[in-house]
């Protein structure tokens, strides 16, 4: 314990902190025992579990160990037809006629039951999708419950939402959701549809069907009238059958821009309404007067939240040249402290990539980035031997013309570009086919307003990133889609106003 006068290096830009410390965290896995997963799931149609007419089932696996969790039914056109007519019946005979305040009670009940089963839902979400339990426990599940609570409140107040207008529901909504936030996206779709008096046929993603099926069990337990919500599992063909079904009034889709375009073509010339929430390549912009340490943290959360499987992820970082070296140095240090591994471990920051297919896509982009001449830096962390994992990665020396700066990678990969002036960064940030979200980091209030006015993105965060609230509308510009979900605006796509 003597005071040591060590010879220390002076003014070196190469000093690195060592995070591989002698004091380490012991594994702290959340118990799987709370998760009741059946070996096989049928389709949830008209309030009951029904066998798929094809008799076909497919496996859903845990991306962290590649083991099969359950088998789920593959719905075909016949099943979709059954589900749509159940939804139509429920719409005509029960749901649209029910007093709004009674509808609200059901939605409240669903919200409460999600809270009661929060732990089980969180564990299943992490098992089926690979996201860290910290996120499913602290974000996905509570946010899903909040969404139902919020829209339950609107159900009998629609005349106040749109004064002097008459609102009526559209009918049967076909909803197709992605694999990145399975339960939360189900909540985003179902809650406003029910609040406005529509009935639902919902298809969860092929790789993450389990929490939606658990939600079906909750709906059953909540005594929701049969047919009001139908949940069909399956792959792309099931989704296409929903989109093409003639008795569907509205399509709500969250997923890739590629599929979004297919849907738009498919419904062209039909009276079907649609909202599409598609891809993104968000610009996160750090000015030299930003609170740098908090900005770095925001960039980390912006791109590595949910393994980067976030449509509004801040995947392009624009940093003003005068602070670029400092920001990059801090980012490199910070990614060394991110814990990659078992999604069920409470200390895990980055879990498993959702599927082998997605992991391959990410690896392909890493190769492209290197080939394009960008400099790749990845965390030195070890990866588990089984399962689909990817180190948090940043690319520096990226050019606007590089594919890794233009295309959505949907993984833990950040492309860093530099800029000099406000006009330059606005031009570069808007120079993308997408327009879902953006972030601005500066200590100067006037600059924030100037930037948010000029950025062509549906959501612009200032000095924070990836913040969501059921009261706040969310949606995109350009190829990021159209329509808004959340908030008062989220009611509109499910209503016709007169």
């Amino acid at each position: 314990m003597a005071v040591q006068k060590k010879k220390q290096p002076r003014r070196s830009n190469t000093i690195k902190l060592k995070f591989d410390t002698s004091w380490t965290y012991a594994p702290a896995p959340e118990s799987r025992s709370v998760a009741q997963i059946a070996p096989e799931y049928d389709l949830f149609i008209n309030g009951t579990w029904q066998k798929p007419s094809s008799g076909e089932y497919f496996d859903t696996i845990n991306p962290a160990d590649e083991k099969v969790l359950s088998r789920v039914a593959a719905a075909n056109e016949k099943d979709v037809d059954k589900a749509v007519s159940a939804a139509r019946q429920a719409y005509d005979k029960v749901w649209r006629r029910m007093p709004a305040k009674e509808r609200a009670k059901y939605i409240f009940r669903i919200a409460r039951m999600i809270q009661e089963k929060a732990r089980e839902l969180a564990v299943i979400e992490s098992l089926d999708g690979g996201k860290p339990i910290r996120e499913s426990r602290d974000f996905d599940v509570p946010a899903a419950a909040n969404h139902f609570f919020y829209y339950a409140g609107w159900a009998d107040k629609l005349e106040y939402a749109f004064p002097n207008r008459q609102c009526s529901p559209l009918g049967v909504a076909g909803q197709i959701i992605p694999w990145n936030f399975p339960l939360l996206m189900a909540a985003w779709k179902i809650a406003p549809a029910l609040a406005t008096g529509n009935t639902v046929v919902l298809k969860p993603a092929e790789t993450t069907p389990l929490t939606a099926l658990k939600l079906a069990a909750i709906l059953q337990e909540a005594d929701l009238p049969p047919g009001v919500v139908n949940i069909l599992t399956g792959a792309g063909a099931t989704g296409a059958a929903i989109v093409n079904h003639p008795d569907i009034n509205k399509i709500a889709f969250t997923g890739s821009t590629e599929v979004g375009k297919l849907i738009q073509r498919a419904i062209a010339g039909t009276p079907k309404k649609a909202t599409l929430e598609l891809g993104g390549k968000a610009a996160n912009i750090i000015f030299e007067d930003a609170p740098i340490d908090q900005a770095v943290e925001g960039v980390i959360n912006g791109i590595f939240f949910n393994q980067g499987h976030v449509c509004c992820a801040g995947s392009r970082l624009y940093v003003q040249e005068s602070v670029a070296a400092e920001v990059i140095r801090k980012l490199k240090h910070r990614i060394e402290t991110l814990i990659v591994g078992d999604p069920l471990d409470k200390n895990t920051d980055i879990g498993a990539i959702n599927s082998r297919q997605q992991l391959d896509t990410i690896h392909r982009y890493l190769a492209i980035g290197k080939k394009e001449g960008a400099e790749m830096y990845e965390s030195s962390c070890a990866l588990p031997r089984k399962g689909f994992f990817c180190r948090p990665t940043i690319f520096t020396n990226v050019a606007q013309s590089n594919r890794i700066a233009q295309e959505e990678i949907f993984g833990p990969v950040l492309a860093i570009l530099t800029f000099r002036t406000d006009d330059e960064v606005i031009e570069k940030a808007n120079n993308t086919p997408y327009g879902l979200s953006a972030g601005v980091w500066t200590d100067k209030g006037s600059k924030i307003f100037n930037m948010t006015k000029r950025l062509r993105a549906g959501v612009v965060w200032a000095n924070t990133f990836n913040k969501f609230d059921p009261t706040s509308p969310f949606g995109g510009y350009k190829e990021s889609g159209y329509g808004r979900e959340g908030g008062l605006h989220g009611l509109l796509p499910y209503l016709s106003l007169r």
Partner: protein, 313 residues
């Protein structure tokens, strides 16, 4: 950046100013969010045991009361050397922290145990005294055998924007310390904003502080996790810039093991391995030690014992 001496205008005849007003700004929401994230780390089993031993070894066991006496300090020193003899093989605490008049007593009681004697000085806790008195206070404590001096900054001058005064004062005390290591107490509870915590940290480090410390323990709020995070990040930036390591000491308000482990997590993830020893990180605390001991006994026996089984000194 703060260390560069630049005057407001080149024609001005005033001496070059250190532009500490250019210290990085801190976003309150962001830093509090980041600090709370550390508390979500789950520290169990051997990680908890090892962490608690490390915490015990980082404690500056402190008594700073008007009624402190030789008898009290001797007892405290015994506790420092033998935290809990029922549990063999425990590390000692890092230091015993007392007023200057009791430094000699502590020095003698601690003998060659390796435990440091830290002394508050410079008209602690208010710092409201002329510089020559502060210097004499410091020299007195050093001459009595203090290994470490915990000084307070002049918060009034700091709020008045007289950063050069604060800087010069710290530099003068540092010189008076000689071989003793200097801890500079910012009294963050009186500074009001994270921006000012950061600015005061920068001034202290550039003026020669060996440690920066949050609080005297006499003002509420004392140490908090976000304030400590701001200071740890200031230490990191200073280290990147100069290559010189500066220590960190949160003090006051940390009385539970769980909270201490959260602080340890923060040090581990902000500054890493090099700072995870009592040479570079300390807890200024009086009641933390017993809570750590209680947890360590529980980890070993599986049973929480009543506080009656742990000595109160």
């Amino acid at each position: 950046m703060p260390a560069t001496g630049s005057s407001r205008s080149s024609s001005s005849k005033t001496e070059p100013r250190l532009s500490f007003s250019l210290s990085p700004h801190i976003d309150q929401v962001g830093v509090e969010e980041r600090a709370s994230r550390f508390t979500t780390r789950s520290i169990k089993k051997e990680a908890k045991q090892n962490g608690l031993r490390l915490v015990l070894n980082m404690i500056d066991l402190t008594t700073l009361e008007g009624k402190d006496s030789e008898g009290k300090v001797k007892q405290l020193c015994y506790k420092a050397m033998h935290p809990h003899d029922a549990l063999p093989g425990l590390p000692t605490v890092a230091a015993v922290c007392v007023y200057p008049s009791l430094v000699r007593t502590a020095r003698q009681a601690l003998g060659n145990s390796g435990i440091k004697v830290a002394s508050v000085a410079t008209a602690f806790p208010s710092g409201q005294a002329p510089r020559d008195i502060k210097l004499r206070d410091t020299r007195y404590a050093v001459n009595e055998g203090a290994d470490e001096i915990d000084m307070v900054i002049s918060r009034g001058k700091f709020h008045a924007g007289e950063y050069n005064f604060v800087f010069d004062e710290i530099a003068a005390i540092k010189e008076a310390c000689g071989e003793a290591r200097l801890k500079v107490i910012l009294e963050t509870g009186e500074l009001g904003t994270y921006d000012k915590v950061r600015r005061a940290s920068d001034i202290a480090m550039h003026a020669g502080a060996d440690f920066i410390k949050t609080s005297t323990g006499k003002i509420q709020p004392a140490a908090t996790m976000p304030v400590t995070l701001v200071m740890l990040e200031a230490i990191r930036d200073y280290y990147f810039k100069t290559g010189r390591m500066v220590g960190m000491k949160p003090a006051g308000g940390i009385s539970k093991s769980k909270l201490a482990l959260h602080y340890l997590v923060m040090v581990k993830e902000v500054l890493g391995e090099a700072w995870l020893s009592n040479e570079w990180f300390r807890f200024g605390a009086s009641s933390l030690a017993n809570d750590v001991l209680m947890q360590l006994v529980k980890e070993q026996t599986g049973i929480y014992q009543s506080s009656n089984y742990f000595s109160v000194d």
